[in-house]
Each structure stands twice: as C-alpha cells, then as structure tokens.
C-alpha cells in the first residue's frame, strides 16, 4: 500500500508543481480598506495585517497595492502614537517602519499606494482595469498579465451586494464583477483569490461571472461580520474575527515560503465557532471546480513562488548581450546629444526674452480696500445715468400722451 502510494503522491506533487510552474509567473496583492474614522481602526489593522503577511510570504512591496483611507497611527486619539496594533497584546506593531523587531528584519516600512481621499471606487476600478492616464506612476498600477495570480482583499462596511467606500460612495457587486470581466478580457490575471471581510460579505461575489476566480467572504446575507476583540487602552476594536482567523492560520501554518498548505485547509478553518458568522467560498468559476480550487496552494496567492518558464525555441547566442550593450550605448549617446542641443537653444531663447521683454510692471497697484475710489465722479456718473433714465421715462410718457 505504502509502496504503491508514494510514487503516485510524488507524481501528483510533481504534476501539480508542473502545472503551477506552467501557469503563473508573478504574484500580486491588492489590499483595500474602505473606511475612514477612528472607530474603524480595525479595518486598517485588518488590511495592514494582511499586508504584513503577504510581504512576509514573499510578495514584494512593488507588487502590493495598498489602499488605506485613513491614518490611524497619527490620529490624535491613538494613545500609542505612530503604532497600529492588531492584537491587544500589542506585541506586533503593524506600523513599525524601522523593522526593529527581529522577525520583521528587512521588512520595515509600509508603502501605501492610495491613501486618504484617493481611496475611491473610481480609483479602485481604474486600478483593476488599468485605465489610467499615461502620467500615472507605475508604482500605483497593477502591472499584471495573464500569468499573474492576484489576491484581492477588501474590508470595510458593506451590505447586500455593496461595499461602502469612505462613507460617501459604494461599489456594488456588479461593478466589481464587470471590472473582473474586463481584467479577464484584457488578460490581466491568471487566477484570482477574492477575499472580503464585511457585513453580508458573501453577497459581493455571486455576481462574478469570470473564470479562474475563487471568492470567499466572511458572512452570509443578513449576517454581520463581527470584530474579534477590543483593546481597552486603544479604546477600539482592533481586528475583525474572520481576518483574525485568516491570520491565525497563515501565521501558524505557513511558516516558510515552501509550506505546502492548500486553500481548502484555509477555508475549512473558517468555522462558525471561530468567525461567529457563516463564511462562504465560491468555487464554481474556477476550472476544475471545488476540487481544483481547494487543491491550490495557499502560497499561490499569498506568496511569491513562481514557476520559471524557460523559452528554448529561440536559440540564444552567448554574445547577444554584447550586441545589446552596444545598441544601448548608441541610444544613450543619441540622447545625450539631443539634451545638449536643446539646452543650448533654451539658453539662447532665455537670453532673448530677457533682452526684449522688460519685467512686466503691474500697472494697477494693490487695491486699498479701505479707500473708496474716485467717489464723486462715480456718483455723478451714476446720478447722471439715473437722470437719463428719468428723462427716458418722461420722454416715453410724453410719447404716450401724444399717441
């Protein structure tokens, strides 16, 4: 039995890793908190906790889009200025920018891509579908392709088929579904794990209709999502239950970037006893359905373990790089030339303008508001016009009499 099993297991492992390596080449994470205000501290803590975890598991900052609408660390109400905690033990400062803690070494700093009023539905959808003006910085874009696995995590206040953004607008599940469809059409993802922690979270994903998405939410329709616990010194709830148990799972089970933990195990971790609401998962969009989805490794989304594809169809010459270097050098020289040229002309132009145009003299001096203008002339003109008006009246009445 055992003898028989081992090779098949190995084979399966090999096969699956083969599939993985053949399918995704980059990992991205979009982590969104949608609520402002001090009493929504926990939403920021949720997001930052996830941020910390995916970073720990290997997704680089450049591939994490973090949206935070408020700055709890610097809120005057925060008794621990500059810190955000997700547990009342306060052992882990999510905002520790220096990375002073041992296990955070090298991970210091938080790169918030969208902050404050930038966190809007419009920006979020633009981010997903990559519809930006050319000037939009690359660091704030989701530079994915059809070989990218994306983790989308959202938290905030929601309701039946919508999620509020900043108390002022909301995104509906249909907006989200359409955005994903666009992403799919534009080949902007390979596989996607959509996670949402809000009240009635599970209503956010039934509208999705695009393949290769696994969606999970914290609570069923008409259910609230609860916070896990409050910190009596911070004075607010610091984390939501569902996120808390997600983290607990990720922190305890994924100790290294090679941990072979499957999504199914994670989903099974959301029991009602823990979350106090019915967490839900949607598998049907995923090719292979529930089985395949549950069999995905957690690190396929939370980590950054990519398969490397070697393209052997093009024969590569060992000297190719020299040619490349040569051509790059030529481009560089051309650029240099052009810059010098333009500088020269500019200097000349400046000189010309200095010579010909005198500094514009402000003909109108600053107005003294306390001083009235040419008072009497003005009044006389006004009076005159009124007199003219009176005269016009008299004329018209004379006309009326004659008529």
């Amino acid at each position: 039995m055992r003898l028989f099993d081992l090779p098949t297991a190995l084979l399966a492992l090999l096969a699956s890793s083969n599939v993985v390596s053949a399918t995704h080449t980059s990992n991205w994470a979009v982590l969104v908190s949608t609520s402002k205000f001090w009493f929504n501290y926990r939403h920021m803590a949720n997001t930052l906790s996830l941020y910390r975890t995916v970073k720990r598991l290997g997704i680089p900052d450049s591939q994490i889009i973090l949206m935070l609408p408020d700055d709890m660390a610097c809120n005057p109400r925060n008794s621990f200025a500059g810190s955000v905690f997700n547990d009342k033990s306060r052992q882990l400062d999510l905002y520790d920018d220096k990375g002073t803690l041992e296990h955070m070494a090298g991970m210091g700093g938080i790169e918030v891509d969208y902050r404050g009023n930038e966190v809007t539905v419009e920006n979020f959808i633009r981010l997903l579908t990559d519809r930006w003006p050319a000037s939009h910085p690359t660091s704030k874009r989701l530079m994915t392709d059809d070989r990218s696995n994306i983790l989308i995590y959202m938290t905030g206040h929601g309701g039946n088929e919508f999620l509020k953004f900043q108390d002022s607008e909301e995104i509906s599940s249909f907006d989200l579904a359409d955005a994903f469809e666009q992403m799919w059409e534009k080949k902007r993802y390979h596989e996607m794990l959509f996670m949402i922690d809000t009240c009635q979270a599970n209503t956010m994903y039934p509208a999705f209709y695009t393949p290769n998405i696994i969606a999970t939410g914290s609570s069923a329709k008409d259910q609230s999502s609860y916070s896990h616990h409050a910190d009596q010194d911070v004075g607010v709830a610091v984390i939501d239950r569902w996120t808390y148990y997600n983290l607990e799972f990720l922190e305890t089970r994924l100790n290294s970037t090679s941990a072979d933990v499957r999504l199914g195990e994670l989903f099974d971790y959301y029991t009602f006893d823990r979350v106090h609401s019915d967490a839900g998962v949607r598998y049907d969009l995923f090719p292979g359905g529930e089985g395949a989805a549950r069999d995905r490794r957690v690190l396929d989304f939370f980590g950054s373990v990519q398969g490397v594809e070697t393209d052997i169809s093009h024969g590569t010459d060992a000297n190719d790089w020299k040619k490349d270097l040569e051509s790059l050098k030529q481009i560089w020289e051309r650029q240099e030339e052009a810059v010098k040229e333009s500088n020269k002309t500019q200097v000349v132009k400046q000189g010309q303008s200095e010579a010909t145009i005198k500094p514009a003299k402000n003909s109108r001096s600053a107005l003294d508001m306390a001083q009235k203008g040419d008072d009497w002339v003005k009044k006389a003109a006004g009076l005159g016009s009124l007199v003219v008006l009176g005269a016009a009246w008299l004329a018209s009445s004379a006309l009326a009499k004659s008529a």
Partner: protein, 459 residues
C-alpha cells in the same frame, strides 16, 4: 374717534399713506436690529434680491471694481448708482435712509394700486362687464391691505431689491389701465431689467393695455351714442361697437414690443456705460435661469435642484422654466375678456413658481388679489379660501421655526423646512386656482344668470 373717521373720509389716501409710512419708520426706529435681522432671513432675501448682497456689490462698485466679479452680487446694475447715493446702511442714518427709500417705494406702489383699482379695469373691460362689478373693493381698502399686509411690511424692512420690480410692474399695470402704451412698455422693461421674470407679464399687460385702449374708444363712442349699452351684461351683445373704430391690434403690438425692447436695450446700454464689462448680463440674467445658488427660499426650486443629479439638471431647468412660461399666453387667451385677471394670475404664477421666490412677492401678489375683490364671494362660498389662508398663517409661523431647527438648533434638517415651503406654495396655489375658478365662474354666470349659486360638478 369721529374726527379721525372724518379725516379718513376726507383724505383716505393721505391718512393711509402717512400711517403706513409712520408704522414702517416706527418699527425701524424702535427695533434697530429688526431690519438687519429681516435682511438675513432666507424667506425675504434670496441670492437675486438680497440687500446684503447689494452692499457687497456696492462696495466693489464704489471702489471701481466690477461688482459682478465676486460671484455674490446678481442684481441689476442701475441699482448701484442709486444706492451709492445713500449713506452706508451700517450706520443709523443709512439704515433709516434705506428704510425711507423702501417706504417711499411701498407708498408709490400703493398709489399705483389705487389708480389701478380706481380705473375699474378689473370688473369692466371692453368685452365684458362682470355681473358683480358693483361689488368691487374700494381702492382705499385695497391699498390698506397692501400697506398693512404683514408680508409687505416684512419685505419693506428686509429691503429686497424685488420691491423695485413690484413697483415697476404695478406702474406698468397702472399705465396700461390708463392705456398709455409707451410708458406701459417702458415700465415693464425696467421691471424685467431688474429681475428677469416680469418679461412673462408682457402678453397679459399688453392685452390689458390694448383692452383699455378699446375701452376708451368705446367709452368715447358710447358717450356720443347710446349710454345704456354698458349695462347690458351679455358680452356678445356688448360689442355692438363698430369693430373698425377700434384701434388696430397689430400696430399696437408692434409699438408695444418695440418700446419694450428699445427700453430694455437702453437700460442694458446704460448699465454697460457704468460698468467695466458685460459680465453683468450673465451674472444678473443667467442666475435665475441656471440657478447656480441653491440657498433655501420659500420657493419650489432649491430643494429639487439640490437633490438633482447633475446629468438631469439642464433638462429640469428647462422643464421648470417652460412650465412657468407656459402660463403667460394661455391666460391671455382664456381671460381675454378680463385682461386684468390674466395679469394678476400671472403675477401669482410668478410669485409661486419663480426660481428665487420670496415672501415679498407673495405678499404683493396677495394684496393685488384684492383688485379682484368683486369675485371673492365666489371663492369664499365655493372654495377653500379660509383653509388656504389658515395654511398661510401656519406656514408663516412654522417656516421660520423649522428653519431655526435646521440651521441653528441642529435638531431638524432641510426636509422640515422644505415641507413647509411646499405647503406654503400649495396654499398660494389654492388661492390662485380659486381665483381662476372664480373668474371663469363669473364669466359663465354672466352668460347664464340662472346658474348662479349652483354647485359645480365634474362630469
């Protein structure tokens, strides 16, 4: 007491005018804070007539700047030279001077009303003689209602510039009643120049003027011919006058329109002469058209356009204005036999439906309604006059209370105040429709005297 009544009977106008003036000045002197308080009330001062905003414009004007630059001032430019002659209303003298000016305006308006009432145009026209003509209110009563109307009083102390509009509209009606074409048109041009909407009165006032002209002709004919003709209540037989002897309609209309537009052009030109730019055109006339300022007022527009999605804004602005426009000509057609009724009704439509409604206009209109006093009995017996007036009383008390709860106490919200403005407008509209009913019924009864006193049923 007897002496007083005696004096009143001898000089009713003098007594009424001086009492009204004394009352206004007394109020301003005994309660020095009152005029400024009223000036700040949204019910009286709107973005297009506020005395406070006028001061802002005046300040810029006095300093040689374009008064329309600030985006606060939206009133007619020729008001500026007039008010710059007065001392600053921040001082005691200035306040009294402004009150005196507005008191004079009220008195002059009342004088116009007196002449309009005296002309008898309300009940007797060239085509029609109301069977209730002898029930017309005395001119003294009408001006008493105007002068002591609480809304007029409040508006006088709140000093909105629409008081000028009211005066010029009444002046225009007065001259129309005297069948003076050019002055009618010119006065109306001034009124339209000050606040756009009196332009809507051009058709009914023109009709009135034409009718009075005909009436005059007929009067002249009758005096020469048969004097008993006017007592004939059948309007069809009434026009037994030779149609050819009546003044021609088309030349009249052309003259009226030409004078009106010439007057407008003249006023606009004069304004340009005083100002550095043409900015005032858009600032003064586009404001009521496009409603950029949604400060609450007792009208129906502000809340609607606060709630409006931007995409539909233009469409509904069009709808609202078309709605207002749509009354002018139909009223003229239906009430061609009673042109003054058409004028008064159109004034009512404007008072209720104008974008920046205010109680001053409503008060002036309510007083003008008394011109149609002869048909009140039809209203008061068949219709809802008393409930409507009671509703006006309720809303004039509740409106400020809800505004206070909304703005100052913070315990109410905009819906409270809006609900009251709705009821206010509804009450005014009930009065308006009652008057339409009464005027039509009066006409109908003139044709069928046997139908008098019978209930109307919808079939």
């Amino acid at each position: 007491m007897d002496a007083l009544t005696h004096v009143y009977h001898d000089h009713p106008k003098t007594v009424l005018f001086s009492t009204a003036a004394a009352l206004r000045i007394l109020l301003a002197v005994t309660f020095p804070g009152l005029p400024d308080l009223l000036t700040g009330r949204v019910e009286i001062s709107t973005p297009v007539n506020s005395f406070k905003r006028l001061q802002e414009g005046l300040f810029l004007y006095d300093r040689g700047l374009d008064p329309y630059d600030g985006g606060i001032f939206h009133q007619a430019p020729l008001l500026l030279p007039l008010f710059s002659l007065l001392p600053s209303p921040a001082t005691w003298a200035g306040r009294i001077a402004s009150i005196l000016l507005y008191t004079a305006l009220d008195v002059l308006s009342a004088d116009c009303l007196y002449d309009i009432a005296k002309s008898g145009a309300a009940a007797i026209s060239s085509l029609y003689r109301s069977p209730r003509a002898d029930r017309s209110w005395k001119p003294e009563s009408i001006i008493a209602v105007y002068l002591f109307n609480p809304f007029t009083l409040l508006a006088c102390l709140g000093r909105p510039t629409t008081s000028f509009t009211i005066f010029f509209v009444l002046l225009s009606i007065r001259h129309a009643c005297e069948a003076k074409i050019t002055t009618t048109a010119f006065a109306l041009a001034i009124a339209s120049y000050i606040s756009l909407h009196p332009a809507l009165l051009l058709p009914p006032i023109g009709l009135l003027c034409y009718d009075r002209l005909c009436h005059k002709e007929i009067g002249a004919n009758i005096q020469s011919g048969k004097p008993g003709a006017t007592s004939d209540s059948k309007p069809s037989t009434k026009v037994a006058v030779d149609q050819r002897s009546l003044p021609a309609g088309l030349p009249f209309a052309i003259l009226l329109a030409v004078t009106y537009f010439a007057g407008l052009a003249f006023l606009v030109g004069l304004s340009r002469f005083l100002l550095p730019s043409w900015n005032f055109i858009s600032s003064v006339y586009m404001t009521p058209l496009t409603l950029p300022d949604l400060t609450p007022n007792p009208g129906l527009w502000w809340y609607f356009f606060i709630e409006m999605f931007d995409a539909f804004r233009e469409f509904f602005l069009g709808v609202f204005w078309l709605h207002m426009l749509s009354y002018s000509v139909p009223f003229c057609l239906r009430f061609r036999k009673q042109p003054l009724v058409a004028v008064v009704l159109m004034m009512g439509v404007i008072a209720v439906f104008q974008p920046y409604a205010n109680v001053g206009d409503a008060g002036a209109w309510l007083s003008c309604l008394c011109l149609l006093g002869h048909i009140f009995e039809v209203c008061s017996t068949h219709r809802y006059t008393f409930p409507a007036l009671a509703a006006l009383l309720y809303t004039s008390l509740l409106g400020p209370a809800f505004h206070h709860l909304w703005i100052y106490a913070g315990s109410g919200n905009a819906n409270f105040f809006y609900a009251i403005t709705l009821v206010w407008s509804l009450a005014l509209l009930i009065l308006l429709t009652d008057m339409v009913y009464a005027a039509l019924r009066d006409e109908w009864e003139a044709e069928r005297p046997e139908g008098k006193g019978k209930e109307v049923r919808q079939i």
